[in-house]
């Protein structure tokens, strides 16, 4: 990343990682995962099953045992990154930045990007351990396994974008209404795209059950078709982009000035 956006993201990362609470929270989360993964694999390896069964069980247990981390990950990402804009306004540190030739949209997107990068950082230990171990056992890398992990991350990104846009209520309401309208249209017309559209009502609850099943199947190896998981990833990324656009638009139009 170059220029002012790169400088904003670098500053945001540096600021988030300078926070003692953030460091402790992040370390705790990574530690939990570091323990949970081997704990899940210990049972599998102790079961005496053959290699193929071990790999299948590890995928199943590994992801299921650590699924509660998905929510923790979003909360941590938001606390460490997205919330930094509000923190910057409260502390007064944002105004030196806003007085520079930087668009508000860039500032908003940089705040989200910091959270998104931190989320990826938090997710890497779990995904690397599970995907790496299963691939080693199976002797091959299953692309669906990778796509499943990407779907988890994109779900967390969507959650972050939703939280960021909720901070700008008008646009959150607009996004919610759009989601409801699109969902209803899709439900009554029963079109192919309906499966995605129906889930749009859950845009403010960004891990709707319909998608979670598809993601779960990809992660645990219950599905061998790439189509549904690719659709889920595309849906999540598209809604993330829309919410970020609405959020940055709202942030750009807000009156933000130091309290004197």
């Amino acid at each position: 990343m170059k220029g002012s956006f790169g400088a904003l993201v670098a500053r945001g990362l540096w600021r988030a990682l300078s926070d003692r609470t953030a460091i402790i929270g992040g370390l705790l989360a990574v530690t939990v995962l570091a323990v949970a993964g081997p704990a899940a694999s210990f049972n599998v390896f102790a079961s005496g099953a053959d290699t193929a069964t071990r790999a299948a069980k590890l995928r199943l247990y590994g992801w299921n045992y650590t699924s509660s981390f998905d929510f923790l990950m979003v909360a941590l990402g938001f606390a460490l990154g997205a919330n930094q804009i509000a923190g910057d306004i409260k502390a007064g540190t944002l105004f030196g930045i806003l007085a520079r030739p930087v668009s508000r949209g860039k500032v908003f997107l940089a705040g989200w990007s910091v959270s998104a990068l931190l989320l990826v950082g938090l997710e890497i230990p779990r995904s690397a351990f599970l995907i790496g171990t299963v691939s080693w056992l199976e002797g091959r890398l299953d692309p669906l396994h990778l796509l499943g992990a990407l779907a988890v991350v994109s779900g967390a990104w969507l959650a972050l974008a939703s939280l960021g846009t909720v901070l700008t209520p008008t646009y959150a309401i607009l996004a919610g209404l759009l989601g409801v309208i699109a969902g209803n249209l899709a439900f009554h017309q029963e079109i192919r795209i309906g499966a995605w559209m129906l889930d749009t009502v859950g845009v403010l609850l960004p891990l709707p059950w319909g998608q979670e099943r598809i993601v779960g199947d990809a992660l645990t190896g219950a599905s061998s078709h790439a189509g549904p998981i690719v659709e889920v990833i595309a849906y999540r990324l598209a809604w993330t982009a829309l919410l970020l656009f609405l959020g940055s638009l709202a942030f750009s139009r807000r009156d933000i000035a130091p309290r004197v």
């Binding site: 600021r15 540190t93 030196g96």
Partner: protein
């Protein structure tokens, strides 16, 4: 910077919503002014007058409710308008864990300036405020005066064409204030523009080419300090064996004679009205009085300021109490 004036405010107005019922409160009412290139423009007013609101509109923090503002010929909301602008807010904070030098380097990067020359730009800004020695220290360890200086340094970074300063001298010791005034004057010599809002009238009086005085969101005066002062007072000193004999003739002119303690032969007439002054001079000459001096007495900035804004004080309204209630809008 473009050929247009660095700052144009045209009928600028700003409303805020307050309280549970979101009642509208006007902080600025139809304020117009133009700042020319290369001038130091003083921005004055009591607390709650709308000074900071105006500055925040000019920097793009706030959107005007009415009228328009142009900075370098552009809307302040456009990032490009801030490319040649340096701003020091009245209330600010910087990342406590950053060093002074690190902060300036980061702000330089945020301004999309090339990496080449960054060290020189940072060094120049630090030198301008005398912060070279403390540049490697963390900002969290700075005193209030040092914070103010590093704040000024970030505003001066890259030698911007337009500098907007909101209470820059607050918390500075006399020597730093002096050197800051020198920095501003040196910028003027290079054709750079400064908008200086300050409560320290002596500083503004010393450096400003023109001032604008705001009160309760409205412009009450604008112009060079000398002109504002000249319009306010002039004195005629005369000598006569009985100065009081002119009193009945002076009264219709709206003039009243002041006595000089210990000098019963002297009388002083003060007026800002040129025709009244000339009529009085003719009257005194015709009556055989000796005109000792005719002095254009220029009022100082403080006198002008108090005269234009202090009616509230004389009527018993406490400006301090008013500022607390209206602080957010100022």
């Amino acid at each position: 910077m473009s050929a247009t004036a660095p700052v144009i405010a045209d009928q600028l107005g700003k409303d805020f919503r307050e309280g549970f019922l979101m009642r509208k409160k006007s902080a600025l009412e139809s304020v117009s002014f133009t700042i020319q290139e290369g001038e130091i423009f003083g921005f004055l007013g009591p607390n709650g007058a709308g000074k900071s609101t105006t500055l925040h509109v000019l920097v793009g923090f706030l959107r005007p409710s009415r009228g328009r503002a142009l900075v370098a010929g552009r809307s302040p909301q456009e990032p490009e308008a801030r490319r040649f602008l340096g701003f020091l807010p009245e209330v600010f904070a910087f990342d406590r864990f950053a060093t002074g030098r690190g902060l300036l380097r980061r702000f330089d990067a945020l301004s999309d300036r090339p990496v080449e020359g960054r060290d020189e730009r940072v060094r120049d800004a630090l030198e301008a405020v005398g912060m070279e020695e403390a540049a490697s220290r963390r900002i969290g360890t700075y005193s209030k005066g040092m914070m103010q200086r590093i704040g000024l340094a970030q505003a001066l970074l890259g030698d911007p064409d337009l500098l907007i300063l909101d209470e820059p001298m607050s918390g500075m010791d006399p020597a730093t204030r002096h050197s800051t005034r020198k920095v501003l004057c040196a910028r003027r010599e290079r054709g750079k523009t400064t908008l200086l809002s300050s409560h320290i009238l002596a500083d503004v009086e010393e450096v400003a080419d023109r001032v604008l005085i705001l009160d309760r969101g409205r412009k009450v005066a604008e112009g060079p300090i000398a002109e504002l002062g000249e319009a306010r007072a002039g004195a005629v000193v005369f000598r006569d064996h009985d100065p009081a004999r002119f009193d009945p003739d002076l009264a219709p002119l709206g003039l009243s004679r002041e006595a000089v303690p210990g000098e019963p032969d002297l009388g002083i007439l003060r007026t800002a009205d040129a025709s009244a002054k000339n009529a009085a001079l003719a009257l005194l000459a015709a009556g055989g009085a000796d005109i000792v001096s005719v002095t254009p007495q220029r009022a100082g900035l403080e006198e002008i300021f108090l005269e234009l804004t202090a009616t509230k004080v004389t009527k018993g309204t406490d400006l301090g109490a008013r500022s607390e209630g209206e602080g957010e809008a100022s």
